[in-house]
């Protein structure tokens, strides 16, 4: 639990600091420092334990079934990194307090820093690889926030985005790599993974896994060719750079190399990839660093270069090299953090970081100068500074490893060359800044900063010297446990000392030092050369171009695809449906025509069929004259009803007929507000295309229908026919199905109708359209609003129609009819009143809003369904009985009838609500009494 809590501490701390924002800078500084210290204290006992050689592992079950528990591990490597993260973290917190100007919110910075700290701890203390990745990505996210700290600045935003993009990409690759690794090993937990190196290296998936993991590591550690995000991340406040970009986050990559060293290393692929990339980066970084005029830029590239050095060391693959790598991780962290802080001080004091303007600060700030010089001596690898020791080791390894491979001589050669450049840029850092004449019009006049701002640097410099002079006494034990954890085995014999006698490494150092001095002396021509190349060789430009291209293409493609055109969507849908349906039908070797005996066609049917088809075609052909098309559609509807009659579906016929009438009225009501004709817009080509699609669709439907009609298949009919009378108490099987067997469908169906009405009512809102004052041909409307004859007979018909609807309703259960048809008849009868006598007249006699009817219908239906619960039966269970009353005679009552009553009410209510409100859309006909009512 300790580890878990220790990792959580910074996260809580972040929240705390953010919360305490308004209590001033000092408070937040102390809180942040306190949190860090607390985390350190919690970890100390475990660190002591791992010094004793025991690896602590803590487990919290999380997603066990996916092999993803929260497992934490504290071993030597962990110790090392915990010290770096928390130790340097403390110094950075102290430093930032003085660095940041009063305008900027310190607590925000601390909050972000603590977030990062926690994530970083998580990375180095994870036992489970996936969990490690989670924290890994968290470092990317928090660094995004940190880099974009000055959110007002464009370079900060773009730098943050670039860092996130690249490290994020690496993280995703890493995820893939880890999953592969886990797939090979059968577990994501380091203990197993580290133990099964041979298995992994032999596995066919080894190479892809290696590549993906390295992608992750290299992006994080800014290895070539992903190095360019680091210099752009320098837009971050200097404390951030000192922390993330020297000591911790960029180390995560090399940490990963170290962590997985026993599993992945030892193959040629590893050696060539890691060694090659590392060496390239080492050299490239060193070279580019020399030419940066920006103080932090120089440091950034030197960081890249040193990371390359470490990578190269792990790439060499020998235990000794690995040990050297670990050692250099320590050293680089120490001196580079110091250098960044020094640079920060200079920036802080001069208001600029341009080395062409900052000159001769020696007089202004001798103290800072001394500190910076020692640190950069370590960077250059000058004896007595810690950097010298690890670099020396590197040279030694390079020399020895070089002898083993073909072209091996390249290794020491490149190493030395890079060493020369390293010395050169370190020299430049010292000479340009502190000597080299007078400052050039600085914004501020520099002088020594406040005491406490230098303390962190001093501490680090002291460490530099201590390690550099008495390595064996100071760093040795830490190095030993760390290296042991990396190698998962015995640590090779080594002696940390300044003097190993005259060996190749020493000569390489000498060459580097001397060569560096010389190179710096004659740097001018190189600078000109570089300035010419620089324009083209910047990774950043390439990255930006990439992004531009990406967004541009995306926009173009999307605009091309996603034209907000309904017709395209419909066409796509129809075509895809055709394709799917066709593949379904065609890809089986069964004839389209089945074996069912066919009916002979008779004259009337033929005529009716022809009329149907011709009317449809005509309606389509004449669709521009809308009213004509409407009339033709009416004919189509009539014939469809006749078809239903012909093929023994009287209920359908009745329904179709009544719906037909209502639909026509509906369309007429709409047509009044729409143009009378459709303009000819579509190009001929397009019309042909649509015609083609339509033809295919029609053909497809016809083919399907034909295939269906020529095959017999007894569906579920039998059961319904048998149980209709005994079970459902009704002779009209269709109606019994509707209100009983499949009553739930009807339940939903009336709901649809109700919602449609309500939705339409809601949709119309206060919609008021001005009706045209004259018809399409410019003729004024007839003056006679309500023809008297029509009015009279409409009233005369109303009682008759109601009577008929009652009749249809009552017989529905046993004979064609039912609540739905009855409802429509009633509705039509009432609508005729509107037609004949107008809205205001009718509203004087009918409620304008039939919501209550609809609601009542729904409730009745619901209650009928629920009633069966009282008898312990499921929803909608029906009951019926025959009664015999004197005088009245014998009659049947079925609960289904109550349900049907609900249907009736909903239909009447909905239909009226729809049509009336549509009628009210016309401004003129909207009289106050009928204006929409507020819910």
């Amino acid at each position: 639990m300790q580890l878990f809590l220790a990792i959580l501490t910074p996260f809580f701390g972040a929240a705390l600091v953010a919360g305490l924002a308004r209590h001033g800078r000092t408070v937040s500084a102390w809180t942040a420092a306190g949190v860090t210290a607390a985390a350190l204290l919690q970890l100390l006992p475990l660190m002591a334990a791992s010094f004793a050689g025991t690896t602590t592992i803590e487990r919290l079950p999380w997603i066990s079934s996916a092999g993803l528990d929260l497992v934490f591990r504290m071993d030597g490597l962990g110790v090392l990194f915990v010290l770096l993260i928390l130790g340097i973290g403390l110094l950075v917190i102290l430093y930032a307090h003085y660095y940041l100007s009063a305008r900027d919110s310190l607590s925000r910075l601390y909050a972000y820093l603590l977030l990062f700290m926690g994530s970083m701890l998580g990375v180095v203390l994870s036992e489970n690889l996936i969990q490690l990745l989670i924290f890994w990505e968290l470092t990317s996210l928090s660094s995004f926030l940190l880099i974009a700290y000055w959110r007002g600045r464009e370079d900060a935003r773009s730098g943050a985005r670039m860092a996130l993009a690249i490290t994020g990409a690496g993280g995703l690759a890493l995820l893939a790599g880890f999953i592969l690794l886990g797939h090979m090993v059968g577990s994501f937990e380091l203990t197993q993974v580290l133990a099964s190196g041979d298995l992994v290296r032999a596995h066919p998936l080894y190479l892809p896994a290696l590549l993906l993991i390295l992608l992750g590591a290299f992006t994080k550690s800014a290895q070539f060719p992903f190095h360019f995000w680091l210099p752009n991340a320098m837009a971050a406040p200097t404390p951030v750079s000192a922390y993330l970009h020297s000591a911790t986050m960029v180390k995560a990559g090399v940490f990963l190399l170290a962590r997985l060293f026993p599993v992945l290393s030892g193959t040629d692929a590893w050696t060539w990839l890691v060694g090659g990339i590392g060496l390239t980066t080492f050299l490239l970084g060193a070279v580019l660093a020399l030419f940066k005029h920006d103080l932090k830029g120089l440091l950034a590239y030197s960081t890249i270069s040193h990371l390359g050095l470490i990578t190269a060391l792990f790439g060499i693959g020998t235990p000794m090299a690995a040990l050297a790598g670990v050692f250099h991780i320590i050293n680089h962290a120490i001196f580079k953090a110091g250098l960044f802080m020094a640079a920060g001080i200079i920036d802080h004091e001069c208001g600029t970081r341009d080395m062409r303007r900052i000159n001769g600060l020696w007089h202004a700030m001798p103290h800072t100068a001394t500190l910076a010089m020692v640190a950069s001596a370590a960077m250059a690898g000058v004896p007595l500074a810690n950097g010298f020791l690890s670099k020396e080791m590197f040279f030694a390894e390079a020399a020895s490893a070089g002898s083993e491979y073909r072209l091996g001589w390249l290794l020491p050669a490149v190493a030395t060359l890079a060493g020369i450049f390293a010395v050169a840029y370190s020299l430049r850092f010292i000479h340009d800044v502190f000597f080299n004449g007078e400052p050039v019009n600085l914004p501020k006049t520099p002088h020594e900063p406040v005491r406490w701002m230098k303390v962190p640097v001093e501490i680090l410099v002291v460490l530099v010297l201590l390690v550099g002079i008495f390595p064996a006494q100071t760093v040795e034990p830490l190095l030993a446990v760390a290296a042991g954890a990396v190698l998962q085995g015995p640590v090779p014999g080594h002696s940390l000392a300044i003097w190993h006698g005259f060996n190749p490494a020493l000569w390489m150092s000498v060459i580097a030092l001397v060569g560096g001095a010389v190179l710096y002396r004659f740097r001018r021509p190189l600078f000109q050369l570089h300035d010419r190349l620089d324009k083209r060789l910047q990774g950043r430009l390439i990255f930006d171009a990439l992004m531009q291209g990406l967004f541009g293409t995306a926009e173009r493609l999307t605009r091309w695809l996603d034209t907000a055109s309904l017709q395209r969507q419909l066409a796509l849908f129809v075509v895809s449906t055709l394709v799917l349906g066709a593949t379904g039908l065609v890809l089986v070797e069964a004839p389209l025509t089945g074996t069912r005996a066919l009916l002979a066609v008779d004259g009337v049917s033929l005529m009716a069929g022809l009329v149907l088809i011709l009317a449809t075609l005509a309606a389509t052909a004449l669709h521009r004259q809308r009213l004509t098309a409407l009339v033709l559609t009416g004919a189509v509807g009539l014939i469809v009803a006749l078809v239903f009659v012909k093929f023994s579906a009287p209920d359908l016929a009745l329904t179709q007929l009544s719906v037909e009438v209502v639909t026509v009225i509906l369309l007429l009501l709409a047509l009044y507000f729409l143009p009378a004709t459709t303009p000819r817009e579509s190009s001929a080509a397009r019309r042909w295309r649509d015609a083609g699609i339509a033809l295919l669709a029609g053909g497809g439907a016809a083919a399907l229908a034909w295939a269906v009609l020529t095959r017999s298949n007894d569906g579920l009919a039998g059961f319904f026919l048998e149980n209709s009378v005994p079970g459902g108490g009704g002779g009209n099987v269709v109606n019994v199905i509707l209100v009983d067997f499949r009553g739930f469908d009807t339940f939903g169906e009336i709901t649809v109708l109700a919602i449609a009405a309500v939705g339409i009512f809601a949709l119309l809102g206060n919609l008021r359209l001005p009706g045209p004052t004259q018809d399409a041909s410019g003729r004024a409307w007839d003056s006679d609003t309500h023809p008297m004859i029509l009015a009279t007979f409409a009233r005369l018909l109303l009682p008759l129609a109601l009577l008929v609807s009652v009749f249809i309703f009552l017989r529905g259960h046993n004979l064609p009819g039912g609540g739905f048809i009855a409802g429509l008849i009633t509705a039509v009868a009432l609508i005729v009143q509107y037609l004949a006598n107008g809205v205001s007249w009718t509203h004087a006699r009918l409620p304008a809003h039939t919501h209550p009817w609809i609601a009542a219908g729904l409730i009745i239906a619901l209650l009928t369904g629920l009633a069966s619960w009282l008898f312990g039966r499921p929803f909608l269970t029906s009951a019926f009985g025959h009664f015999d009353w004197p005088l009245v005679g014998e009659f049947e009552l079925a609960s289904a009838m109550a349900f049907d009553l609900g249907v009736y009410l909903v239909v009447v209510g909905a239909t009226l609500l729809i049509l009336i409100n549509l009628g009210l859309v016309h401004r003129a006909s909207a009289n106050p009494e009928a204006t929409p009512w507020k819910p």
Binding site: V604, P650, L654, V664, I665, L668, Y672, D775, S925
Partner: protein, 89 residues
């Protein structure tokens, strides 16, 4: 005999159907088309009754009844549309 009479009757009505539909297609004026539709409805009634007699089933009667009762609504609405545009005002 009745059956043969029915067949002949069916032919008559079928032709009637065709003629009305011809007018529906031909127009020329909208009232013509509406009239044709109205006639189609009346023919449909005839057809339904004949069908009822032929199949000896009274189940088709209500359809005829419904047409007689509501068929005219469409016609009226269409005419009103021509007269006033706004049919519910």
């Amino acid at each position: 005999m009745l059956s043969s009479a029915l067949i002949l009757a069916f032919v008559f009505v079928a032709v009637a159907f065709g003629l009305s539909f011809f007018r529906l297609l031909r127009g020329p004026s909208l009232p013509d088309r509406i009239l044709a539709l109205d006639t189609l409805y009346i023919n449909a009634i005839a057809l339904l009754i004949l069908l009822g007699i032929q199949l000896g089933s009274p189940l088709y009667f209500e359809a005829a009844l419904l047409i007689a009762l509501m068929g005219f609504v469409g016609t009226v609405a269409l005419s009103k549309f021509l007269l006033r545009g706004d049919i519910i005002e």
